[in-house]
């Protein structure tokens, strides 16, 4: 489907929602909209695609409660906004749509969380992407450095070929919010694998140490919880160029979740897991056992950290022997460590010792 076909389809499906609300009112019913519950308890492993998706549990958004009634009302306003944007070939950021709602009177959003949530709900119900709704996130994807040739169609419609190592500055290639084929074409690469790095500091360390050239790697900066476009970009590298993906993060409960959203799919966007997650991505550290094995400088787990770890023990995505072991070990230690803690042994230690050891286990080091 072309972009405009997808837009038309999106509007058609949104109309169906408004129509259903109208019909329910007309029949004297209490309007409601049924959606899969977006909870931890309602994500299931999909064997076919090897990612986690929403299960069968449904929740009703009903006009019986103020909150539900408001969201149903906003759905119609949102539809109108989307229709108008498509007709005039404009787009808006999620933040802008939140501000646009200022003009909706009673229906206006009270926080951006509400508008983000509704955009995701509409994706789920219509099985479209928010890009099809002409809504885009304001945050960009993160940065990429490595020998990768791509062709990007720029905002003026011009196709630009560039190499993500030689044609970019030190901050790398910035991943745009839309990384679909019509926007970014993947060309060729000499890289043997992709390494996704949580923090900017470690990303820059690897760049400075020339890790990408030395080991033929493509470095991707995750910037904390990765944006959709970053995850989609990684997935395309994996799918289309057959590059193995490794994830290198801090050693704390939140980093485990970063890995999970790259590899398994995030709870919040489980309706898109098939499209965003890279099931074959490997976690290389910092692991709980690294803390002891490498005798890393640590911080004590905070109460929030402990709560997060305990929540992970109940998270079906982490219900594997490996993750149970890691989580329980971290709880036992009561400690966490940052990736940059490796600097304890010198600035080169991460590229000369730590990563080679880890990659070797995965057979990714050059013989």
């Amino acid at each position: 489907m072309t972009t405009s076909e997808r837009n038309t389809e999106a509007v058609k499906r949104l109309y169906a929602i408004s129509e259903s609300i109208y019909e329910q009112l007309d029949q004297g019913k209490i309007p409601k909209m049924v959606l899969p519950l977006r909870t931890k308890a309602n994500i299931r492993f999909d064997k076919k695609s090897s990612v986690w998706k929403y299960g069968d549990q449904k929740g009703a958004r009903s006009a019986k409660k103020v909150q539900g009634a408001m969201m149903l009302l906003r759905t119609s306003y949102m539809l109108e906004l989307i229709r108008d944007m498509i007709e005039s070939n404009r787009s808006s950021t999620l933040r802008e749509s939140y501000y646009i709602s200022e003009g909706w009177g009673k229906a206006k959003f009270h926080s951006q969380d509400e508008s983000n949530m509704l955009a995701e709900d509409l994706e789920i119900v219509t099985q479209c992407l928010r890009e099809d709704f002409k809504l885009r996130p304001e945050e960009d994807g993160a940065r990429v450095i490595g020998d990768l040739n791509i062709v990007e169609t720029d905002r003026k419609g011009k196709r630009k070929a560039l190499n993500c190592r030689d044609d970019v500055g030190d901050s790398g290639y910035g991943i745009p919010y839309n990384v679909e084929k019509e926007k970014v074409e993947l060309g060729s690469t000499s890289a043997r694998f992709v390494i996704a790095v949580e923090t900017g500091g470690m990303f820059d360390r690897l760049v400075e140490n020339g890790f990408d050239e030395a080991e033929d790697a493509i470095l991707v900066h995750l910037k904390g919880q990765p944006a959709r476009s970053t995850r989609r970009f990684i997935k395309r590298l994996n799918d289309e160029m057959n590059l193995p993906v490794v994830v290198f993060t801090d050693g704390d409960p939140w980093s485990f979740r970063i890995y999970a959203s790259v590899a398994y799919g995030a709870i919040k966007t489980a309706h898109l897991s098939e499209y965003l997650a890279t099931p074959s991505a490997e976690f290389i550290g910092i692991t709980a056992s690294d803390i002891t094995a490498y005798d890393l400088p640590t911080d004590k787990l905070t109460d929030m950290d402990v709560r997060a770890l305990n929540a992970e023990l109940k998270d079906p995505r982490f219900n594997t022997g490996y993750w149970r072991g890691e989580i329980e070990e971290m709880l036992r230690l009561g400690k966490k460590a940052e990736q940059q803690a490796l600097a304890k042994y010198g600035l080169d230690y991460v590229t000369s010792t730590y990563l080679p050891e880890k990659l070797n286990q995965l057979g990714l080091m050059r013989k």
Partner: protein, 665 residues
């Protein structure tokens, strides 16, 4: 064996200590035990006297208090009133002699009791600063005011005048001004001169109090009413629970020549019959000469009194503030906090402790700007005087702690202790003799009958609070649904219709399904001395409804002609019933009526009851209590059950699944 000379030596060393000397050495007994407190005590004694004097003369008090800082430690306090003034010959004794006063022997409610206050204050000032006090007073009709500079000879308990002048005080027809110096410390906060005056203003709404603090800042607590508290009558002591010492003093002082006459004439509520009964119960001849009575026969008499049933003392010796004025006083002073609710105050009937009549009053203020997460504030008053110290030792605090406030909508761990919540609890104990724990008059002793009375009053007022809170909760629940059907659903219909280019659908079905209830809302407006009440009845059920509503109005205030629908019944002038016409599904019926002759704040909440309809189908009114036809206003508290219409087989609420969707923190 001690020689007689030792005894003589000891006797030489023993000498009379004057009262003033005694208090000079034990000033904490009078409350002058810290610099902060001394200043408050000084102001308090002068203001109490001023209020008492005005009340006695039935003059609306105008009192001004000014505090100036002389140096680091020393302050000058000036208190002026518009009272009747003091005749010039009495001035030295009033200001310069302890235990001199008109009220010491009187059985009636007043602020000061022993005549220690103002002279003790002057003495304290004299001790700490070495400076005399200045008093000026003018009685009505006098050409000039007399002004004296006075100190107290503490050894002799006698006033010493250092200066005596007559001053034309032309702009003042009558009044008294006293200025004294004392060491102290001026502070702000819960225990401060400002707080003392503020609370004084609450329970003395007839007084206008002006205060100028050491910074020169002026506060005016304006008069909330022109109505003076009625002058309290002086009564003779009541024999119940009288103490032996008091009895012996009375016997010594009596002019009566026989026991029976003494009992009959020197006591309250003792008739000739009762006097004779007491005599026979004490096995003392009626003709016994009181002057000849021994300690032994006095004890006998006391026992005899205990055996005879005597009528409770009359109550016109007490001056309750009254529910109306408590509310006014609170409102006036608490304006800036904007409390959400003033629970109708409760004034209990008088009771007796140790022969002294007393009564208890309670008021509760709730919500608005009052802090939510702290202990409630307790305002304690004894005979219209605020008690700022020794909260923990006071029977008022004990009574509050022993009341289960959870039943009345306040937080309280374990159901005892000082409750938490956005509230002020006011308790006023009025008595001819307040049993204070000490001369400093800071806390009331824990006397069981007093504590019991306070608790009963607290509970009655607490129920008023709870009624309000219940109503508020019900209203907010209903308001949410009302918002859905009145605003959101119509907008939804309009929007979807316009997007789909179809006609706006009929919403009745949806609305009645969401509400499925008869909603009753009321509004009270006060205009031109009349309360205009509008009761709106929304039938949000799918069926038509026919039923009756009932309400209670203050007795005799309903203007029947103003009713939009003629009442079917008006019982006892206060219980009003209307049989409503049929109300079709989704229709609204408005019922209006007016009340006249009430102050604006005397009717704020409409009590509504329904009959002839399943109460579960009604929101905003309670089922008619079973005793509507029988009793007066004492309703049993009935809770309307909440209609719960959740369909069990439905999906869980999508928007309230309550889980954090984000993987990051």
């Amino acid at each position: 064996m001690p020689s007689s000379s030792t005894a003589q030596k000891l006797a030489k060393g023993q000498k009379e200590i004057s009262v003033s000397e005694f208090f000079e050495k034990n000033r904490q007994i009078l409350g002058f035990d810290s610099p902060v407190k001394s200043l408050i005590m000084g102001v308090k004694e002068a203001v109490d006297n001023a209020l008492d004097a005005c009340e006695e003369a039935q003059i609306l008090p105008d009192i001004s208090v000014k505090i100036d800082r002389v140096d680091q430690k020393e302050y000058r306090v000036t208190v002026e009133d518009n009272g009747p003034g003091i005749v010039s010959t009495s001035m030295p004794n009033v200001f310069g002699r302890l235990l001199y006063g008109s009220r010491f022997h009187a059985v009636r409610q007043s602020r000061g009791q022993q005549g220690i206050g103002i002279s003790a204050t002057i003495m304290f000032g004299q001790i700490t600063t070495g400076k005399p006090a200045t008093a000026r007073s003018k009685v009505e009709g006098a050409e000039a005011a007399k002004e004296i500079d006075i100190i107290i000879d503490t050894k002799k308990n006698m006033p010493v005048l250092l200066r005596e002048d007559y001053i034309p005080w032309n702009d003042v027809p009558h009044g008294t001004r006293v200025t004294f110096y004392m060491n102290g410390r001026y502070v702000n906060g819960r225990q401060s001169v400002y707080e003392y005056l503020r609370q004084t203003a609450i329970v003395n709404p007839h007084a206008c109090i002006t205060f100028i603090d050491p910074e020169g800042k002026k506060y005016v607590f304006d008069r909330a009413t022109d109505q003076m508290p009625p002058r309290t009558k002086e009564i003779k002591p009541h024999p119940d629970g009288i103490e032996l010492g008091t009895l012996m003093n009375m016997i010594k002082a009596t002019k009566e020549r026989s026991l029976v006459k003494f009992l009959q004439n020197d006591f309250n509520r003792v008739s000739e019959r009762v006097a004779k009964e007491i005599c026979s119960a004490s096995a003392l001849p009626e003709t016994t000469r009181p002057t000849h009575m021994t300690l032994e026969s006095c004890k006998q008499l006391l026992e005899g009194i205990g055996k005879v049933k005597i009528m409770a003392p009359q109550v016109d010796c007490l001056s309750p503030i009254g529910d109306k004025l408590i509310r006014k006083g609170l409102k006036h002073v608490l304006e800036e906090v904007k409390p959400e609710f003033y629970a109708p105050p409760v004034t209990r009937d008088p009771k007796v402790h140790s022969g002294n009549p007393f009564l208890v009053e309670v008021g509760i203020v709730y919500g608005g700007g009052l802090p939510k997460d702290q202990q409630v504030q307790i305002y304690r008053f004894a005979n219209r005087v605020p008690l700022l110290y020794q909260q923990g030792a006071c029977v008022i605090t004990k009574a509050i702690e022993n009341t289960d406030w959870r039943r009345y909508g306040l937080e309280q761990r374990g159901g005892s202790g000082i409750p938490f919540g956005p509230a002020i609890i006011l308790v006023h104990v009025a008595s001819t003799k307040i049993p204070f724990t000490s001369e400093a008059k800071e806390a009331i002793s824990s006397i069981p009958n007093i504590q019991e009375e306070i608790q009963l009053a607290l509970k009655a007022c607490g129920r008023n609070l709870k009624t309000h809170l219940n109503k508020k909760e019900r209203k907010s629940k209903t308001r949410a649904k009302f918002e859905i059907v009145q605003e959101i659903i119509p907008l939804m219909a309009e929007k979807t219709a316009s997007i789909l280019d179809r006609p706006v659908p009929d919403l009745r079905g949806t609305i009645t399904k969401i509400m499925n209830v008869v909603w009753i809302d009321d509004q009270v407006k006060f205009e031109k001395g009349r309360h205009k009440v509008k009761v709106s009845i929304y039938n949000y059920t799918p069926k038509q409804q026919k039923f009756s509503v009932h309400t209670i109005v203050p007795n005799g205030c309903l203007d029947e002609k103003s009713c939009s629908l003629a009442p079917t019944d008006v019982r006892d002038g206060e219980k009003v019933s209307w049989e409503l016409p049929r109300i079709a599904s989704t229709e609204i019926y408005h019922l209006t009526y007016e009340l006249s002759g009430l102050d604006a704040d005397m009717y704020q909440e409409v009590e509504l009851y329904v009959s002839g309809i399943n109460p579960v189908d009604v929101m905003g009114a309670d089922p008619l209590p079973g005793d509507w036809d029988v009793e007066g206003l004492n309703f049993t508290e009935t809770e309307a059950e909440e209609p719960e219409e959740e369909d069990a087989d439905e999906e869980p609420d999508y928007d309230e699944s309550g889980e954090d969707l984000n993987d990051d923190q």
